[in-house]
């Protein structure tokens, strides 16, 4: 958070001493020659040990009968802005006590002794901590990256690696959007209806921004005053209402939009044509069935009737240039009946098979073979015209 960024070196001011009679006392007794700093967290008791002492402390913690901390609950890395810490949470099934052990290393020399030979569960935890914090656990059997197979190359959970700003995230997307906008701008300017819409949108955005600013201000003020959630809500709503009233006073009623002329006639013509077509199809089909034609023949018959209708109606009324272009492009393609299609596909298959056989006979690699077949197919297509 912003405040933490401002005071990166901030540390817990005072360590609260744990009450007597906890597991820490046993630690002190058993490891009397080692310097331990005990303190109380909001949950377990904790001890801070020097990195050099860690292997001995951990071995004793696991194997000493009075401690018997046989379960490693959790192993976490922490970046304190000053150094890197590793925190172990241990539990004893025999004595039902738990303890938090903390040791630290510097950024320059991020090495820690491993505990994976004591608790196997530390294996993956240490791998993960190495990957995300860059702490190297000496003696660990397998320090490959765990969560990202190829490794990231940087340590995301260190505080020196901030989250990317949203603009950075969307860099590609924003660039694309800008390009798209530049491309469509002249077209949009030509369209008659666009500007009013854009203006409308701009006004809406401006209003939303004004509102957001008002909300933010009111919220900050409420928090500065120390209002409760409920009060804060009411306060913000009040501020919002004020903004809306102001807006209503200022803006005259300009919204009587002229009804845009919709191309209804165009649509009606299309509908009429479709109806005419449907009638022709129905008539032809009825006639074909009355004559007792087969399915194939019926289809041909109906198509003939349709063609006659089209000839009669003349070229269809082009509603817009856009629609005409694809229609014109589609027109020259001759309709191919099913039998011809099948024949073509069979021919193609023969060509492919032949080319493949030849390629294999020549001992080509699969890449070369693919290219060879593609070439043969291209030649075949050219032959077909």
């Amino acid at each position: 958070m912003a405040e933490q960024q401002a005071h990166p070196g901030q540390q817990q001011a005072t360590l609260v001493a744990p009450p007597p009679g906890t597991v820490v006392d046993i630690f002190k007794e058993v490891l009397s020659d080692i310097e331990l700093t005990p303190y109380q967290t909001a949950g377990d008791v904790a001890i801070v040990v020097q990195r050099e002492d860690l292997p001995r402390v951990m071995k004793t913690a696991k194997e000493h009968p009075r401690l018997a901390l046989d379960y490693l609950r959790c192993l976490s890395g922490v970046d304190t802005y000053k150094e890197l810490e590793v925190v172990y949470h241990l539990y004893s099934f025999r004595h039902k006590h738990s303890v938090q052990v903390k040791a630290s290393c510097s950024y320059d020399e991020p090495h820690m002794p491993t505990v994976s030979h004591l608790w196997q569960t530390a294996n993956w935890h240490e791998r993960e901590t190495k990957e995300l914090f860059g702490i190297i656990f000496d003696g660990h059997p397998d320090l490959r990256p765990l969560l990202t197979e190829e490794g990231l190359g940087y340590y995301i959970l260190r505080k020196s690696h901030p989250l990317a700003e949203i603009e950075e995230w969307q860099e590609d997307y924003l660039k694309l959007a800008a390009e798209l906008e530049a491309k469509t701008k002249p077209a949009a300017a030509a369209a008659p209806a666009a500007p009013s819409e854009a203006e409308d949108r701009a006004a809406k955005v401006a209003l939303a921004q004004k509102k957001a600013a008002a909300i933010k201000k009111a919220r900050d003020e409420a928090r500065a005053k120390g209002l409760s959630t409920e009060e804060e809500k009411a306060f913000v709503q009040q501020a919002l209402r004020a903004v809306e009233e102001e807006e209503a006073k200022r803006a005259p009623v300009a919204a009587s939009a002229a009804a845009a002329p919709t191309p209804t006639e165009d649509r009606a013509a299309k509908v009429a044509l479709a109806q005419k077509k449907a009638a022709a199809i129905k008539k032809a089909r009825d006639e074909a069935r009355a004559k007792g034609l087969s399915m194939e023949e019926e289809k041909a018959f109906v198509q003939q009737a349709l063609k006659a209708l089209e000839a009669e109606a003349g070229p269809p009324p082009a509603p817009s240039a856009q629609a005409q272009a694809p229609a014109a492009a589609a027109a020259p393609a001759p309709p191919m009946d099913r039998a011809a299609k099948i024949a073509l596909a069979q021919k193609k298959a023969t060509v492919i098979k032949k080319a493949r056989d030849e390629a294999r006979a020549r001992g080509m690699s699969s890449e070369e073979e693919r290219r060879f077949v593609a070439e043969a197919l291209k030649k075949f297509a050219a032959e077909q015209g």
Binding site: Q4, A42, Y71, R73, F93, W124, L147, I156
Partner: protein
Amino acid sequence: MATELPPPVEHELETIDLNINVGPQHPATHGVFRMILTVDGELVVDADPVIGYMHRGGEKLSENCDYRQAIGYQDRTDYLAQFNTEWTYMLAVEKVGGIEVPERAEYIRVILGELNRISSHFMFAGAFGTDIGLFGTPFMYSFRERERIQDLFEEVTGERMMYNYFRPGGVAWDIPDGFKDKVRDVLKEAQQGIDDLDGLMTENEVFLARCRGLNPVSPEEAINWGFSGPMLRATGVKHDLRRAEPYSIYDRFDFDIPVGTSGDVYDRYLVRLEEMRQSARIVEQALEQIPDEGPIMAPGIKRVLRLPHGEVYARTETPRGEYGIYLISRGGEGPYRLKIRSPCFCNLSALRNMAVGNYMADAIIILGSIDIVLCEVDR
């Protein structure tokens, strides 16, 4: 630990070990999980699990939120036990902040958390049946039951998956009218559903043949490998955080902790089945005891919390085991450090030890018996 391999069969032909890649997109891996198995014939001689396909940096994201915003990321770890994971986070925040939760809110949390455990175990039973070869029937049965509970959750929270309902100091809003009766109805059906599952699977010939005696784990191994939850209890260790370190109001309820004897795959299933019954018992008691009136939020909780300096390792018993959150506060509006201890992560880390020496088809069952949720493993 190392299961002894049967002596290799002598052949005249020379054989080589084969690498088989299972996943990441594979129905038997319960999500995006990949394991590279080395097999000698049908025997697994090495297994290398590859995780991280769902890694979203949830810990980092939470450290860049305020305390309220970070709740949502907890739903997205264990997406089958969302209330339980949210609850752990709440415990951590409340412990550091010294926040007392009103009684009614505690009961709501217990009811929802235990119902969630039932629905999660239903999901396990269904998916596990499919792993074993009981295609369809148990899966459909358990999904029917789960759906009823899901509807209930939707009624309370407005969401089917990502509930985001618990808040530091209580819950977001009160439960709807007539909720208690609905829970009773659903619970009755769920209990019938548990019995149905029991009848379908427990004595099933296929089920017994494939699960009983498969991959027994000793208590010492389980503890050393960091097992928790049903995986640990199946080995005979009677350890349940609800009893061992009672959080919330679990000291008020009467329930048993089912344990297995041999730690094999069959025991893991049996423990989960019995746990569902015990959860139903807890919900029944909670419904009896819950006060009809009362606050659901601690008084004076600001929307943007500022916790004092402090750290805590909070843990709860989720359906998959010990879900822990190590939270460090430095007086800011959000967590300074939030580490998630995922039970599946620890259970899964021993997959190599468990799978080696078993048949390839059994490795899939062993993986299924962990009841992994990959979003929780990768975080």
